[in-house]
Symmetry: D2
């Protein structure tokens, strides 16, 4: 049965900006780190894909900022697929503050699969792994 994957990350001194909370761009980095590690947990390493000349190109990132995160906050970064088509896919993300389970951010990240720079069908082994975290 499909499930959401989760990773914990800590808000660092230099993630904070002059407003005293985590900078808007930093969240895209939390999400990128989480997706990389989620793929690894699914047995799909990015270097392994690249060795097969397959690259994932991010086509869109949509973030909704709900509450600011602060220095030292432990954040739970969730991710799963909400759409997997033949050559494209979309992740859904949620970030919660661990201490009180407050929702900090929601986001959707879309990407397409390229082989030697051209749009390509998601390989069947990759699709099989991705399907494990697909929730319709």
């Amino acid at each position: 049965m499909a499930r959401k994957m989760c990773q914990e990350v800590k808000a660092r001194n230099y993630h904070i900006d002059s407003y005293g909370h985590v900078n808007n761009a930093q969240y895209l980095r939390y999400l990128e780190d989480a997706r990389t590690d989620f793929f690894e947990e699914l047995g799909l390493s990015i270097p392994g894909l690249n060795a097969r000349s397959i690259h994932i190109f991010i086509t869109a990132t949509n973030l909704q900022y709900r509450k600011p995160a602060k220095i030292g906050d432990k954040l739970l970064v969730y991710g799963w697929f909400i759409k997997i088509s033949s050559r494209k896919a979309t992740w859904q993300h949620e970030i919660y503050r661990k201490q009180d389970n407050a929702l900090i951010l929601t986001g959707q990240i879309s990407g397409m699969f390229l082989k030697q720079g051209r749009l390509t069908t998601i390989p069947s082994d990759v699709r099989a792994a991705m399907t494990k975290i697909y929730i319709s």
Copy 2:
């Protein structure tokens, strides 16, 4: 008559990631820098607003990545308002590569105005300045 504002930025060594192009999160920083400078050109400094206890909280960032930018690329970052309501506003952005005018990225950034942490009406002087770059 309303106009789009524009700023030039250069893609730096550390903006590039292991894929050899500008990292997805870096674009949010190009856009943030541009908005800060656009506000200053309009006579609205962020420190000045903060001194009046007014803060702009980013509520959503939506980016569409069209083409990858590379090391040394000179990028033209455009911005203007597409929506100004009583307490919220939305910027439209476009980034073009200067050398060939290729479209690199489009984006929409929404924010709300807060006074001492509570949603507040956009002050009339701020609204007047913002209207100069509002294109319906």
Copy 3:
């Protein structure tokens, strides 16, 4: 008996620059994260110190780059004190690549203790904790 503290960190996609290895500035962030967590392990939280109006101001950072780190490398970040005087202290750092124990970087980070912006004596409880990782 004094000991070196150690933390593992992973070289991320956006830590890499256009040369294909970890950017020179990124190492200062690995070291800062390690020091923060080492202090916490010693029972000294940075927010706790700040609440006592005590801040540590970094006065010098000296890094020696030995070998480049690459995407996905797991890095072991070591830290301990080599100098603790009445109002200043110096950390020694070493970073090793986990897979083959190659030395990636050595560094020395010096800081001074401030109370309300003025140089101050290191509080005795802080000094006692720091001494646990002091190696002459």
Copy 4:
């Protein structure tokens, strides 16, 4: 006659950390940007060197932090060579705050020249250009 080169940069929102001033690692990025642009002004582009299989590997960075820089500060970043040997060179940097000419940071950055990964003699055209900003 040899001269110091200079570039202006602005302290941005996300350069600031939770202490309210520019983060220690950010200065290495200001210096890297400056050196890249200084080389270009001297007619030495990094991509041009790379096309000749020549890379500069940073071997050491030593920074002395004098005063903290704050959001919006305009910073004057100076750079010149203090040492040029057959295969290595060392830059001297100074950063001043434009508004009051306060000294913010001094630094020394050393690098070596590599050709296809092996230490190599600095090419004569590169040395000639570098000598223009060498101050003994």
